[in-house]
């Protein structure tokens, strides 16, 4: 399918999901849960651009996500802007953070890069914890506007925004996948020295990858303050965001846009159900165990399993 067609088809699918869910579903909880699943679609797709496509493992997801959320807090305190603008702002700030991280870690590979991302996340968290303007370690309360801009409840509005963001993220991933940029990313992942010798501007491409990945993560975190209404560093920098962002693409499959989507929908739904029925700590345990199991048994994820079966036919 040509890239342009993909954008249109995926838009139609997203619009259909939106119309059906808002038209047919009355239970408010669906939109609470749905928001989280969609948020994870964006997070894991974003992670996969740097991780699955370019081969650089980012454990500092929490930093980009939380920076997006806290940039919204700052905007909320300074002035009153619609949430879509906050999303763009979150994306901008996190994109700059991604560029900075990429620049600092240019010459690091493998585990050193991963640890550096973790280090960055801790440093970012420490800075926010000590920044009283946004509440510091005590956290901050954010009041939702009275009226939702469209019809329906405010949560339905946030859900709709996240759906649009998920569509954009997935379409961007697919576009990259089929482009020269995507091939360049893959070359870097497979053998950076050979890529450089082959004419690929590896440093530039790595910066593009970290910036884009960071920006999308920041955008997924931007609406969070309005979603939770109480934001604190402990929850927004939570390691579970990092684990999920790694587990979902890994379980779904890292080589294609479909992997993170499958992983996010599957794991996200399981977690939403588990949080309600069993404890939330137990549901995190399940995610961790699934990650380990898949990494051992099916390292190419669900997409990889499907492709392997197709090849055997």
């Amino acid at each position: 399918m040509r890239t342009a067609s993909f954008w249109i088809v995926s838009f139609v699918v997203a619009a259909a999901v939106l119309a059906l869910s808002r038209g047919l579903i009355a239970n408010e909880y669906f939109f609470f849960a749905g928001y989280v699943v969609l948020q994870y679609i964006v997070l894991s797709t974003a992670w996969n651009i740097l991780g699955g496509y370019t081969g650089y493992t980012n454990f500092g997801v929490g930093a980009f996500f939380a920076v997006g959320a806290y940039s919204s807090v700052v905007l909320h305190k300074l002035t009153s802007v619609p949430v879509p603008v906050m999303i763009l702002a979150g994306g901008l700030v996190s994109g700059v953070l991604g560029f900075g991280m990429g620049y600092l870690t240019l010459r690091l590979k493998g585990v050193f890069f991963a640890i550096a991302t973790l280090a960055l996340a801790i440093v970012a968290q420490t800075l926010i914890v000590n920044w009283d303007y946004v509440g510091g370690s005590r956290g901050i309360y954010v009041i939702r506007p009275q009226q939702a801009p469209l019809l329906g409840s405010y949560i339905q509005y946030l859900y709709s925004l996240m759906l649009v963001l998920a569509w954009i993220a997935v379409a961007i991933a697919r576009t990259i996948e089929r482009s020269r940029l995507g091939l360049g990313f893959n070359a870097i992942r497979d053998d950076e020295a050979a890529a450089e010798a082959g004419g690929v501007p590896t440093l530039r491409l790595k910066l593009i990858s970290t910036t884009l990945s960071g920006a999308l993560m920041g955008m997924s975190g931007a609406p969070l303050p309005y979603y939770v209404t109480y934001l604190d560093p402990a929850s927004s920098f939570n390691l579970s965001y990092a684990v999920n962002s790694v587990a979902m693409p890994l379980i779904g499959g890292m080589t294609s846009w479909a992997g993170p989507v499958i992983g996010a929908v599957l794991l996200g739904t399981i977690q939403q159900l588990a949080t309600v029925t069993i404890s939330s700590a137990l549901n995190l345990l399940i995610v961790g165990l699934l990650l380990i199991a898949f990494v051992i048994i099916a390292p190419n994820g669900i997409v990889g399993l499907v492709q392997a079966r197709a090849r055997l036919r």
Partner: protein, 290 residues
Amino acid sequence: MLSLDLAVNAVVAGLLLGGFYAAVTIGVTISFGMLDIVNIAHPAFIMLGSFVAYFVNSSFGIDPILIGVVMAPVFFLVGMAVYQIYFYAFEQRGEESIQGLAFFFGLLFVGEVALILVFGVDYRFVEAPYIGPALHFGMIDLPLRMLIPCLVSLLMLAVLQLFLGRTFIGRAILAVSQDRLALQLMAANPTRIKRIAFGISIATASVAGALLIIIQPVEPSIGRDYIGRIFAICVLGGMTSFPGMLAGAMLIGIVESITATFYGPSWAPAVAFGFLLLTLAIRPAGILGR
């Protein structure tokens, strides 16, 4: 306001802390520095060691260091089992990077969550006669709860250094870390050696965990602070050298201690990580070779 008393004690505390940090890092120096296995889950095993010490100490009143040493063989077996899984899943298939990292990341996370499920998120501590009293030399205070772990840690370091240098298996481990091909030509099985070495690295976590809970009360998420510290010290120390690692550990211990004393403890976690970033930025040539 620079109080000499405060500063001197901060440095001393830092030295003692650094000695302890060496115990925490020695495992990774073996698994990552020597064997090239990216075990970022090492902090999870340390936390396990801490909670095992807590459990046995609070149930039977046994000294925590004794628990750590006695449990070390159990941790050794666990380490060998983990290596076996890692070897089957990754080293044999030639996969590397992301899947291997994800495996250990998953272990780290599962370890923390499992501890939360069993023990909850409250701080736990152990009881021992040397927690509380301190030695005094003029203006210098030496809390025993820091001095004793530091000494035990140095002892463990010395024992391991001797083991690596004097025993057959120890020297085989050193050989593997330098040249796998040569070892195969000598008809020693590198897999078996690596498994033993990895087991040893996890066994050190048993002792390190016991020392940790003597120094401070622990709760499951503390492990995360140690990832940065461990790798910072490992890199600072030049990856494979024990003396280098000890020096790096003391350096980080001192800087953390001074930061906590004069700027408050909430900045302390950032110190080690900041150091790590600095080290990685300034010494890329050494790292690129990996």
